[in-house]
């Protein structure tokens, strides 16, 4: 039993060991100096930041509505909105292309309005929002659903209008879970590959995010791909540390508070 667990542990850890050690620091350093690195890093950070903001700004009210709706269709909508989590990202890319591509369902309309999003930086953001929004939505719907109904009832009995209820009671109480959801959503956007490749393409400096740069670098030099991969691992690791710290700080604050 323990042996099987140990095998799995080894299997999960060894690739990271190789990622860090293979070729030595010099090869990795040289890899980081590759001309693909900085444009991809800049694009990844910029687009994921925009994506997260869009996801949070649109996702928070949507999640609040979904969590409070007694409408039966809202449950179906929740399932539909979870789809991008389980479908392969490439399918998402195709779907985006069929919807908003030049020959897509709505592409013609968009083009007449003078806007062709496919294969542009806008498409990068669209692909990221498409695949990452469900992570935030799920966390936010759960957070709002878990709020003590008594608190909401009291707030309303005190005279709180629906907007005040949302801003002054629901948002602050749900905040820790919303931040956690936003962080997971950001991580998903940063790692986004398939949908971006299909819908935005792989143009250096224009639509080539870090994961796409890794794919391109693999054909040039494995150590460049390794260096870029390490960069993403560092971001992911920092994110996990932040979430742990954040959760612990939050729990400590609540825990110390209970008499």
């Amino acid at each position: 039993m323990l042996g099987l667990g140990g095998l799995l542990l080894l299997f999960l850890v060894l690739p990271f060991v190789a990622l860090v050690l293979d070729g030595g620091p010099e090869a990795i350093w040289r890899g980081l100096g590759c001309s693909l690195t900085w444009p991809a890093l800049r694009l990844s950070l910029g687009t994921t930041l925009i994506s997260v903001v869009l996801v949070v700004v649109g996702g928070t009210p949507l999640a609040w509505w979904l969590a409070r709706s007694r409408w039966r269709s809202a449950r179906w909508l929740e399932i539909l909105l979870q789809l991008p989590v389980v479908i392969p990202p490439a399918v998402g890319g195709i779907a985006l292309l069929l919807a908003f591509g030049r020959r897509g369902l709505f592409g013609g309309t968009l083009e007449r309005l003078g806007w062709t999003p496919a294969f542009s930086v806008v498409a990068v953001v669209m692909a990221q929002v498409f695949v990452s929004a469900p992570f935030y939505l799920q966390a936010a719907v759960q957070a709002f659903g878990r709020l003590d109904p008594n608190l909401l009832a009291v707030a309303r009995s005190l005279g709180a209008s629906p907007p005040r209820l949302f801003v002054r009671v629901a948002l602050p109480l749900a905040r820790p879970w919303l931040i956690g959801g936003a962080a997971m959503s950001w991580a998903r956007a940063l790692g986004e590959f398939g949908a971006t490749l299909m819908f935005a393409g792989n143009m250096t400096g224009k639509t080539q995010t870090l994961p796409l740069a890794i794919y391109t670098a693999l054909e040039l030099d494995i150590h460049t791909a390794q260096a870029l991969s390490l960069l993403l691992v560092v971001f992911a690791f920092a994110l996990l540390l932040f979430l742990r710290r954040f959760n612990r700080g939050f729990e400590a604050a609540r825990g110390a508070a209970t008499p």
């Binding site: 008594n150 009995s157 005279g159 709180a160």
Partner: protein, 260 residues
Amino acid sequence: MTGNSAPRLSVAVQAGLGSFTLQASLEVGAEPLALVGPNGSGKTSLLLTILGLHKPERGRIVLSDEILFDAALAIDRPTEERHLAYLPQDFGLFPHLTAIDNVAFALACRSARVSTKQRRSEAMAWLERFGIGNLGERNPSRLSGGERQRVALARALASSPKALLLDEPTASLDVEARVEVRAFLAESIRSLGLPTILVTHDAMDVEALASRVAVLEKGHVVACGLLSDVRRAPPTSFASRLFSSSTVPKTSGIASPSLQ
């Protein structure tokens, strides 16, 4: 009803509650009414219906001369416009706000154009009136049960309610706090003179806080009258057990007797 000066809450509603139908008529004036009954008899549902959080199929809820709900006239005022103070069992203080900001929240809901500073000083005055001015900057989690109850009541009254709805006001307190809170509540309710409905499992609460009793069973009000009358001739086995044990404080709703 005419525009009487004495505040009055009259409720006559019918609402589906899953396994049975809530069908209740109550009249509450200045004399506080205790709503008693076994678990699942629909007490809390009735409170939530009066609050406007459950929508009844039929009936009418009138507070003084204001119609809160009327199925026939298609009137259904939202909870925030009903001016009912609701105190749930655990008092419902906002955990992310200090005591003073909890009270200020209520003030902000009713008068948006007052400055934050002014609101806080008004909230402070409310806390001082309830003898807890020194606890204003504390978070609810750092208050005792009795203190929380006071903050909750101060907050409820700051919203200038026209009636009080209390759900098991002493159930979540330990025995000592219960005695203190009961005395404090009894005095507050009496001095306010607002129509008050109090859901409880505790005979001591009934004796100390209410002068009338309504007994609810499977959604129906099976008896409603003066405390002394209901005590003398309890209409259900639940009521007779409740009042036979009235000298012994009950622990909580968990210990409520089951019905044959």
